[in-house]
């Protein structure tokens, strides 16, 4: 069975982003970029399913300008077999991303799409659910455990109240949470090998998708700054301040 893994190029998770002085957007000039951490977990899971003999091929796809080929190469170095870049000026909004992915799913016919639960830039947490709806596939979101058997996948989801287990018929969409696995690092030989793995480039037009986003970004502002606090010297001073100054005890 084939597995499709969409990976997004985002700001490195260690970087604290700054807002541009004209408040038009955040400033990404010279900022370190990386694969969305949740997508790394998705790639790892797909590669493990291949190593276990369950998957036959792992295809990674990224949508964005040419620079996202870097993240596709990273995924190839981690063990994916081939890559597809869908060339768009900027990373598409979630609905457009889902439409492009739907077209790719129809072309490639994977039994499983494994993707991140959330991009750490937009914090949208939507694309997987949207893709599942467009295909009328079942979905397992926020997944921390999964096992594939025959034509089904059993998944455990991290939900607000605890854990929920569902069984989905394949084909299905799975979005992964942090505790599903610990992604491996790419070895140097694998990084070299990845350079020779196939990487196709497609346009939205090739996929018959017209992008049209009705949401506009009006402004981006920094969050409210917190007033600088004080250090207290002892527990008694802390309790006193909480009682008499902050009045929260």
């Amino acid at each position: 069975m084939k597995i499709l893994v969409p990976v997004k190029r985002v700001i490195d998770y260690n970087v604290k982003v700054r807002v541009k002085s004209d408040n038009s957007d955040v400033d990404l000039a010279n900022v370190k970029m990386a694969m969305n951490p949740f997508c790394e977990i998705a790639v790892e899971q797909a590669v493990r399913l291949k190593e276990a003999g369950i998957a036959s091929e792992v295809i990674v796809v990224s949508m964005g300008d040419k620079s996202c080929q870097e993240q596709i190469r990273t995924a190839l170095a981690l063990g994916a077999d081939r890559g597809i870049q869908v060339e768009t000026e900027t990373a598409p909004d979630s609905l457009s991303a889902a439409k492009l992915l739907k077209a790719l799913v129809q072309e490639e016919q994977p039994q499983l799409v494994i993707m991140g639960k959330q991009s750490i830039d937009t914090d949208n947490n939507q694309t997987g659910q949207m893709l599942a709806a467009l295909l009328d596939y079942p979905q397992g979101t926020f997944v921390s455990e999964m096992s594939v058997e025959n034509d089904k996948v059993q998944i455990t989801r991290e939900i607000d109240g605890g854990l929920q287990t569902l069984e989905l018929d394949l084909p299905a969409i799975v979005t992964v949470d942090l505790r599903l696995n610990d992604p491996r690092y790419a070895s140097l030989p694998n990084i070299m090998k990845a350079k020779r793995k196939p990487l196709a480039v497609k346009t939205p037009a090739d996929l018959g998708v017209e992008l049209n986003n009705k949401v506009t970004l009006v402004a981006v502002n920094p969050p409210a700054e917190r007033q600088a606090g004080v250090k207290v010297a002892s527990v008694s001073e802390l309790v006193d301040k909480l009682k008499n100054e902050a009045k929260v005890l």
Binding site: I11, Y13, V17, R18, V19, V26, S94, L95, I120, D121, T122, D123, N125, G128, Q129, M130, A132, A133, Y137, P138, Q139, T141, F142, Q154, R157, E158, I159, D160, G161, G162, L163, Q164, T165, L166, E167, D169, A172, D177, L178, R179, N213, K214, V215, T216, L217, A219, N221, P223, R226, G229, K231, V232, V235, L238, V239, K241, L242, A246, V248, L249
Partner: protein, 309 residues
């Protein structure tokens, strides 16, 4: 303008996230219909009807909705969308699960985790783990929003008497099946609505040491939270995680113990009214958001704190 709000509940009780979501709907303005979709959930519908902000309760009571599977919920909501300008759901794992499906079926985008209403089409939401606040305008025909509960004060829950209208639509996808649920049971207040939260991180060291935090929490009537590192290490269950990818809390008092203050953690708690940090590393980033910082070994400070409260 009529707004459809989706209720958060467990078939027995209406969850308070519903009340925060209704507050956001009120700020948009217009009539508000509240959908209760579940199984054997008449009690939830009755509670919903008592909320003065609600014009009408729609009750879809069917086994197909017992576990609120996204596949079934989304089709039900799409069947009810006609005549509604906005659809709002709480930004809980539940709302985040089904609402994007509704959006895709309606061919519109969704605004996630909305924290402020500027007008009927313009909203604010945090991006980049809350390090920036985006103001976004949507021209979609139906506007779909998930609402961050901590950003809106709950509406009054009692005193109304809205009509309850039964919905007969049954959407039951056969390609997904509920297997089981392991829900955390706790007598402590709910993490996202508690007025005091004591949270522990990797510095707590192990599960047993967390008992100190539970003890303190019980003395203070507080909820217990945790960093991702504490959950990953297995000290506490996943439902305690606070942060960009966990729960967002904004209590009157947040006490962070043995938590370094990574941006992903701050994203979930930096809107708390008063923040206390106890950490032995005076350089820990958590101190940059703390109103009161105590540089100390938590194993000495925690017992002392418990004794003095």
């Amino acid at each position: 303008m009529t707004i459809l709000v989706i209720a958060e509940h467990d078939n027995v009780a209406l969850k308070s996230a519903t009340l925060n979501t209704l507050a956001a709907a009120q700020q948009i303005g217009g009539d508000i219909e509240l959908l209760v979709a579940g199984y054997n959930c008449q009690a939830v519908a009755d509670a919903a009807a008592a909320i003065p902000a609600v014009t009408k309760v729609l009750l879809a009571d069917n086994a197909a909705y017992e576990h609120e599977l996204a596949e079934n919920m989304s089709k039900l909501i799409v069947a009810l969308v006609s005549g509604h300008s906005h659809i709002l759901a709480p930004a809980t794992t539940n709302g985040k699960n089904y609402l994007p499906r509704v959006a895709a079926l309606l061919d519109v985008n969704q605004l996630s985790d909305v924290t402020a209403v500027e007008s009927a089409d313009t909203f604010q939401r945090p991006i980049y783990a809350g390090n920036a606040i985006a103001t976004v305008k949507t021209d979609d025909v139906v506007k779909l929003l998930t609402i961050r509960g901590t950003a809106f004060d709950a509406v009054v829950a009692e005193g109304g008497s809205a009509a309850i209208e039964a919905v007969s639509e049954v959407c039951d996808n056969s390609n997904v099946r509920f297997v089981k649920e392991e829900l955390a049971k706790s007598d402590r207040p709910e993490l996202t609505t508690a007025s005091v939260v004591v949270a522990g991180g990797r510095g707590m060291g192990n599960t047993e040491n967390f008992d100190m935090l539970y003890g303190l929490a019980d003395k203070m009537g507080a909820a217990v939270g945790a960093s991702r590192a504490a959950v990953d290490a297995g000290f506490v269950p996943n439902d305690l995680q606070v942060g960009q990818t966990g729960k967002v809390v904004a209590p009157d008092l947040y006490i962070a113990v043995g938590i370094s203050g990574a941006i992903q953690h701050l994203a979930g708690m930096k809107d708390s009214k008063v923040i206390v940090a106890i950490n032995k590393d005076e350089e820990a980033p958590i101190f940059s958001v703390a109103d009161y910082g105590l540089v100390a070994d938590l194993f000495e400070a925690l017992p002392e704190l418990s004794a003095q409260i």
